[in-house]
Every structure is written in structure tokens, then in C-alpha cells.
Amino acid sequence: MSDNWGFIALFSLIALTVPIIGLLAAWLLRPHRPGPIKQTTYECGLETVGDTWLQFKVQYYLYALIFVLFDVETVFLYPWAVAYNKLGILALVEMFIFLAILAVGLAYAWRKGALEWV
């Protein structure tokens, strides 16, 4: 296999050590003077009121949902695009049917207001 994934493995390990080495160096150099006031949750100097948990609106989920389905679509689009030269008119038509079906989905989401930030 000529794809050099071994390098990726090594490089990932090295990349992971970068922040760790940095934090170790900082741990040696920086002052350590924690205090109860210092370690309170930051809220512009005011005391935190209530729970950290907020009720998020379902809008966030709808964006993630449409994103996931379009992300899956790219999984099919990329091999198609790369193989396109060798495929001819049939592949073009097939892909347009695929895209049209998903475009219907996008149009539906649009009409139903799933794309509105409220």
C-alpha cells in the first residue's frame, strides 16, 4: 500500500505531545495560587444564578440533522466526482437524480422553517 498512513499515525502522536509538553512547561513556570473566589464560575463578576443547564431550542438539532444528511451525501458525491471522467452521461443523470431527491429535502426543510433561526 503506497498510501503512507504510518506517517499519519506518527504525526498524530507528535501532534498530541505538542499541547502536553506546552502545558507541562507552563506548569513548571507559572504561579500556583488557587483561591475559592478565583475558582468561581466566571459571570462578569456576579454570582452565578441557577443551574448551568439551559433549555436549548430544538432549532440546534434541526441544523445538525440537515447537516448530517448532507454530510452523508458528500460521501457519495466525492467518489462520483473523482470517477466522473470515466463514467459518461449515465452517471451524470444518476447523480442529478440523487441530488434532486436531496434538494427536495432541503426545499422541504426551508418551507417548514427548519432553516430559520428563531
Binding site: Y61, V68, V75, W80, I101
Partner: protein, 190 residues
């Protein structure tokens, strides 16, 4: 140290990552942390795909599972669970163990004893398998040295395969995705 040993070490590390990620999913005290362990498991499996020479699939695994499905799960947790909520200890674990252990034993036995008819290693083309010179050019990633240009490799093969042999499945997936989109929007909105 030989390349084989290095490969085996890499396999061990990746298997440990994916299994410990899965273990974390059932041991973690909060749903959010559970989801993080799940993501670790996905990454480990992607690494195993690389070892199986399915580079495209590995990248897709990271893109879809780590980059997309995990976002969906994390958003759903944010929307439903008390963010800091602690999961209660599992209730029916003795029963579950009673089901899972024999199941595991059965699968493991099958993995060892079944005749998988492994053919990797056979140098001669098996009966009925033929490959055209053009396809051969597509699958290989050999680089003609003086051009310094890489042939596109497996991805082209995949694209072809999707557009020809698996065309029906390909278009059905589009419909499934559409139905999922419409259904999920209808369900999730009030």
C-alpha cells in the same frame, strides 16, 4: 523490530482504543462523557479500517461518525438531559450479562472455527475473476516515476462501483435520506 511486529503493535493499540472507548460508553457516569467515549471508539475503528487498506472508508468514518453523528448525539443530550445529569446505575445488568456472555462466546467461537475461505495470499487469479488492464490501472496506486503523478486509486473504483453495480442501492439511499430528513423534522418540531 520488523514491519510485521510494528503492524501488530499498531493493531493492538487501535483495538485497545476502540474497545476501551466502547467500555467507557457503558461505564461512564454521565451521558455526555459516555458520548465522548463513543467518539474515541469510532476513531479506533477508523484506524482499524486503515490497517485493512480501506483508507477511503476510514476517512468517511471520521467524517460521518466523529464529525456528524456525534454532533447529533451531543445536541440531543444538550436538548434532553440535564447537562450535568448523572446516569443511574444500570438496573438489569445480571440479566444482560446472562444474555451477552453466551452471545459473545458464540460469536467468538464462530470467528475461530468458521471456514472463511480466505483467498488473500493466492497469487493466481481465482476461477471466474477477471480484471481488465484499464481497471488494473485504476486500482493500483503505483506512481510512474517521471510523471510524479499519482493515479487516483480506490476512490475511482468506488465511484464506478456505486454508479454501476450498486446503482439501485445508491438511489435508494437518497430516498432513505430524504424520508429520514422529512420524518425527523416532522417529529422534532412541535
Amino acid at each position: 523490530m520488523s514491519p510485521l511486529l510494528l503492524q501488530q503493535i499498531a493493531f493492538m493499540v487501535l483495538a485497545a482504543i476502540s474497545l476501551s472507548g466502547a467500555w467507557g460508553v457503558i461505564r461512564a457516569h454521565s451521558v455526555f462523557v459516555s458520548a465522548l467515549w463513543l467518539i474515541l471508539s469510532f476513531v479506533g475503528v477508523a484506524g482499524l479500517y486503515v490497517m485493512l487498506e480501506a483508507g477511503f472508508l476510514a476517512v468517511i468514518q471520521v467524517l460521518v461518525y466523529v464529525g456528524a453523528i456525534s454532533v447529533l448525539i451531543l445536541f440531543a443530550i444538550m436538548l434532553t438531559e440535564d447537562v450535568m445529569g448523572q446516569a443511574e446505575p444500570a438496573s438489569q445488568w445480571p440479566l444482560a450479562v446472562l444474555i451477552v456472555l453466551p452471545f459473545f462466546g458464540m460469536l467468538a467461537k464462530a470467528a475461530f472455527t468458521a471456514d472463511w475461505q480466505l483467498s488473500a495470499g493466492s497469487v493466481a487469479p481465482p476461477e471466474g475473476a477477471s480484471i481488465s488492464a484499464e481497471t488494473a490501472k485504476l486500482v493500483t496506486t503505483a506512481i510512474p516515476a517521471e510523471q510524479g503523478f499519482r493515479l487516483p486509486g480506490q476512490v475511482v473504483m468506488l465511484g464506478r462501483s456505486l454508479m454501476t453495480e450498486h446503482l439501485l442501492a445508491f438511489e435508494v439511499v437518497a430516498v432513505v435520506l430524504l424520508v429520514a430528513l422529512v420524518g425527523a423534522i416532522v417529529i422534532a418540531r412541535d
